[in-house]
């Protein structure tokens, strides 16, 4: 009995000690933070104290730690981020002549709890490009190494100045979106993790076209701001304390997450809603209050869709922040349980940008947060696959041809938009999507990472069929959630599931597909080149010629339609430069179409996929009439000058 009491006491004590970090963890809680931070809105500065409890996930002895100091990307024009980006992101520019536009972070002290002072040992280093002016990564040698499975507790003091928002984080007037803001430990990849053959730190500098990579953990963060500010953050609010100096301190806690961001503004209009187990908090700009329903419906559509087709959203809440127009550089960004959307006053209902951004950023709760891939090295795994799901949700919610734009007769679907962005590049073969993100050709990052991936994922869906595609994605999700999957892990699941289920229709694996669309730069374009009929006895001898114009080789079907109404489907492995099918039938071929089901969505020209002996001139006549009409109207408008 006494033994039992001691045992219980031990368990309770242990629970009390580790409770802040490990309650019912679904993830390997490797990097756990307790942070107290104070925001001074006047100076745009943060003052923080951070306690990091980091566990060595490997069997290695760790002799140094590595950290990200992301805010130093905005320190001056010499950082790698600024050199690569030219001081802009997504069309938003830094006000380069203003000192106040820049930002930085300083580690004031770093100590091992009850141990070594690491502060003098902090070294900046540049693992990616050797740019010695870049201060976004530090390493800290340890006198006392961290053994396998051991934890180390560090007490860190830091101060930071937020940049004026142009690239996700910072301030704009009295709006604050605080992301990538604290000293954040890198990811130590034990051998066997992703591509690591030996244990190694994976800590990259902050680049213009790359996002982030982090381990899971518990974040317990207290934020102090002036009391008139509304504050929301990653995770769930634990409490609020009013301080005597006119400030307040709000505490948030998030478990099983890879990052922590927060926002503060005195102007938010807060709208709350609920979807099943998920509380939704929407922080809108007053001028956008009337668009609340648009955001909420989009968020709920995304929640329901992912829940049905991929897996359960495991968190109890979701916060959606609508940044003001003057802080649009903060729009369209994802953090765990916390996303930023983006809209504008007067945005017509038929232009669904607010919906698209909300759905896209929510999708990152899966592709980045729950499946914590390395965004530095394999952006296609989060942005690209998420773009694919954005297309599915948008098109199935708002219409395949109208989901993004349905306004004044103009119509555009989400998948159409992704495909257009990739296939109509000046050179779609410019580069594979698979590369370190910062090494992709500069202006092609978006097209190659988001659009091309979404388009070949849609093509993969076409080849596998929707049910099998969903099975692949669900397996991928269930197997890799709360872990760090790589591209090869995703492909391994495709290869594990699909060949057998498709009766090896595409061979023993799908590597031929990924070698072309992901690791390669092949371009897909099939053309139904010609149809000819000639009489042969009582029958017709018809030839149907298909060309492969691109260098990508994909299996395709050819649908042949005869004048007696009958149809025939022909198979082609798509490897040769051309293929001629000869058919002897009672009827003549009226038309034929290569890839009639648009399986190969990655085909760069879908207009040349069909050939009809006779086509109607009506579409041409229609657009000629319109063309004539608008030319004449242009003349009439000019006449007013005469």
């Amino acid at each position: 009995m006494l033994m039992y009491k001691y045992l219980m006491l031990l368990i309770v004590t242990a629970l009390f000690v580790v409770a802040p970090f490990s309650a019912a963890a679904q993830s390997p809680s490797i990097a756990n933070y307790q942070i107290q931070v104070e925001l001074n809105p006047a100076t745009k500065r943060l003052t923080g104290r951070e306690t990091l409890v980091w566990r060595n996930p490997s069997t290695d002895v760790i002799r140094e730690l590595q950290f990200h100091l992301y805010l130093n990307a905005f320190k001056n024009q010499q950082s790698t981020f600024m050199r690569e980006s030219g001081g802009q992101l997504r069309g938003e520019y830094i006000n380069a002549t203003s000192k106040e536009a820049y930002g930085f972070i300083d580690v004031l002290s770093m100590r091992v709890r009850n141990g070594e002072n690491l502060t003098p040992k902090i070294q900046f280093f540049q693992p990616d490009d050797g740019n010695t002016d870049d201060q976004t990564v530090i390493r800290v040698p340890l006198s006392k190494p961290v053994g396998p499975g051991e934890t180390i507790t560090l007490d860190i003091a830091f101060r930071a100045k937020l940049p004026q928002i142009f690239a996700r984080t910072g301030y704009s007037r009295d709006f604050f979106l605080v992301g990538q803001w604290f000293p954040k430990i890198g990811v130590y990849e034990p051998a066997g993790t992703r591509y690591a053959t030996t244990g190694q730190w994976n800590t990259h500098q902050f680049h213009a076209n790359s996002e982030f990579y982090a381990d899971y953990g518990v974040y317990d963060v207290s934020m102090t701001t002036p009391k008139e500010y509304w504050v929301s953050a990653t995770g769930l609010m634990q409490g609020e304390t009013l301080n005597r100096n006119g400030t307040k301190t709000i505490r948030y806690r998030a478990e099983d997450v890879v990052d922590f961001a927060w926002t503060a503004s005195p102007h938010f209009q807060v709208v709350e809603d609920k979807w099943r187990h998920v509380s939704i908090e929407l922080l809108l700009q007053p001028e956008h209050r009337y668009q609340a329903q648009r955001h909420l419906e989009a968020a709920k559509a995304a929640l329901a869709y992912f829940d049905k087709y991929l897996g359960r959203y495991p968190y109890p809440n979701l916060t959606i922040v609508d940044p003001p127009f003057h802080a649009s550089g903060a729009a369209g960004m994802e953090y765990p349980t916390f996303i930023t959307a983006g809209t504008a006053w007067g945005l017509p209902a038929g232009i669904r940008l607010a919906e698209m951004v909300t759905i896209h950023e929510f999708g990152h709760q899966y592709f980045m947060q729950l499946l914590a891939s390395n965004e530095f090295e394999e952006a296609w795994l989060d942005e690209g696959i998420n773009q694919y799901y954005e297309g599915r949700i948008m098109d199935e919610t708002y219409g395949r041809k109208t989901s993004v734009v349905d306004w004044l007769g103009l119509r555009m679907g989400d998948f159409e938009m992704s495909r257009d962005t990739y296939v109509h590049l000046d050179n779609p073969a410019i580069s594979p999507s698979y590369a370190n993100t910062w090494q992709l050709p500069g202006n092609y990052y978006g097209a190659l990472t988001y659009s091309k991936t979404a388009t070949w994922m849609k093509t993969l869906e076409g080849l596998l069929g929707r049910p099998l595609m969903d099975e692949v994605m669900q397996t991928y999700f269930n197997r890799w959630k709360f872990r760090h999957p790589s591209g090869k892990d995703f492909i391994a699941i495709v290869n594990e599931i699909t060949p057998r289920r498709l009766d090896y229709r595409y061979g023993p694996d799908m590597n031929w597909f990924f070698n072309q669309v992901l690791y390669g730069d092949q371009v897909c374009d099939y053309e139904l080149h010609m149809v000819r009929n000639s009489k042969q006895g009582a029958n017709y001898r018809s030839t149907v010629t298909v060309y492969r114009l691109g260098d990508a080789k994909m299996p395709v079907e050819v649908l042949v339609h005869f004048d007696d109404g009958s149809e025939k489907r022909l198979q082609w492995d798509g490897k040769a430069r051309s293929e001629t099918f000869v058919l002897v039938q009672p009827g003549r071929v009226e038309w034929a179409q290569v890839d009639p089901d648009q399986t190969l969505y990655i085909d760069t020209n879908l207009n040349n996929n069909s050939y009809a002996i006779r086509t109607s001139a009506a579409p041409t006549a229609k657009y000629t009439a319109k063309f004539l009409f608008w030319v004449q109207n242009l003349m009439q408008w000019l006449t007013w000058l005469a």
Partner: protein, 331 residues
């Protein structure tokens, strides 16, 4: 409103003239549209994909087409722009003929006289066109700078809606100024013909004085005609959405409606000049000074100073006898 009705009535009775102008616009349009048809038909070749366009705009079909065949289409768009410039110059050319028609509303439309008047006044109207276009461009430049500076100065203090409101206000103010210049330009045209004036600047100044003095009758009516044009557009879009263009029958029907619409716009433009003539004639009556095209000769000039110093009277509308006098000289 009687000016407007009278002007519309004369325009209606000048259908031959309107038809000629319309046919010229059609021929110019067809110069671009027929090659467009040929090029698109050739480029769409044997594809079935374009059938999707009958049901409305299809983004994928359109963007694939422009990517592959854009090179064949863009020269035609350029030709379209040049055809519009040619038509603009032709419109300058037509001005004399149109105004002459309003000077002689009771005479039957004689195309020979129309062409003669067009060519007689062309040079002076080119000068006026250059002047009013220059003023418009100058206004655009100055206004763009003013608005940009204003918005930049207050951007930090204004909400999105307020910024939008300011942007819209700037645009509307610009539109008002430009239409005012164009309206003055129309009265200057009348002035040049009525006074046989060759100096565009003087005519513009006199026209400005007239327009500002009778803002409602001049600029107000000008806007009524602009709104009628906008109404025509609203009507057109309503019909288009109701009819659609999804088969040969509706395509041909819409083609017909489109062409009627264009003819209507031409008629409206003619009527606008007609209103200017009517208002000018009533608000700034002059002795018969111009000679008809058949005996075109410059009247003995009073000095320009004399003319500009001539009081702008508010005498009642010039009796028909004035035009009758003209008629006599032309007969």
């Amino acid at each position: 409103m009687s000016f407007l009705m009278q002007s519309l009535r004369i325009t209606w009775h000048s259908r031959r003239m309107v038809l000629v102008i319309y046919l010229i616009s059609l021929v110019l349009g067809l110069l671009v549209a027929l090659p467009f048809y040929g090029a698109v038909r050739a480029e769409t070749d044997h594809s079935l994909a374009f059938d999707a366009l009958l049901d409305g705009f299809d983004y994928t079909v359109f963007t694939d087409f422009m990517q592959e065949k854009g090179n064949a289409i863009s020269p035609l768009l350029s030709v379209g722009r040049w055809a519009s410039v040619v038509y603009l110059l032709l419109s300058v050319f037509f001005t004399g003929g149109i105004l002459m028609r309003f000077a002689e509303p009771h005479r039957p439309v004689i195309l020979g006289a129309f062409w003669q008047a067009c060519s007689h006044y062309f040079r002076r109207y080119v000068g006026l066109f250059a002047l009013s276009t220059g003023v418009v461009l100058l206004l655009a430049f100055v206004w763009l700078i003013v608005c940009t500076l204003f918005i930049l100065a207050f951007a930090d203090a204004l909400s999105e809606r307020e910024l939008f409101g300011i942007g819209l206000s700037c645009f509307l103010a610009f539109a008002l100024m430009v239409t005012l210049v164009l309206c003055i330009g129309d009265y200057a045209k009348v002035d040049m013909l009525r006074r046989d004036e060759r100096n565009a600047l003087r005519a513009f100044r006199r026209a400005s004085a007239l327009v500002f003095r009778h803002l409602v009758w001049t600029y107000g009516l000008y806007w009524v005609l602009l709104l009628m044009g906008a109404g025509l557009f609203a009507l057109y879009f309503t019909i288009e959405s109701a009819v659609g263009m999804s088969n040969w029958t509706t395509i041909l029907l819409m083609l017909l409606i489109q062409q009627v619409f264009i003819a209507g716009r031409i008629g409206l433009k003619v009527a606008t000049l007609g209103v200017s003539w009517q208002v000018y004639d009533q608000r700034m009556p002059l002795p018969a000074v111009y000679a008809g095209p058949s005996t075109i000769e410059t009247p003995s000039h009073t000095t320009d100073e004399t003319r500009t110093n001539e009081p702008l009277t508010n005498e009642p509308a010039r009796p028909a006898s004035n035009l009758d006098t003209t008629k006599k000289t032309t007969e």
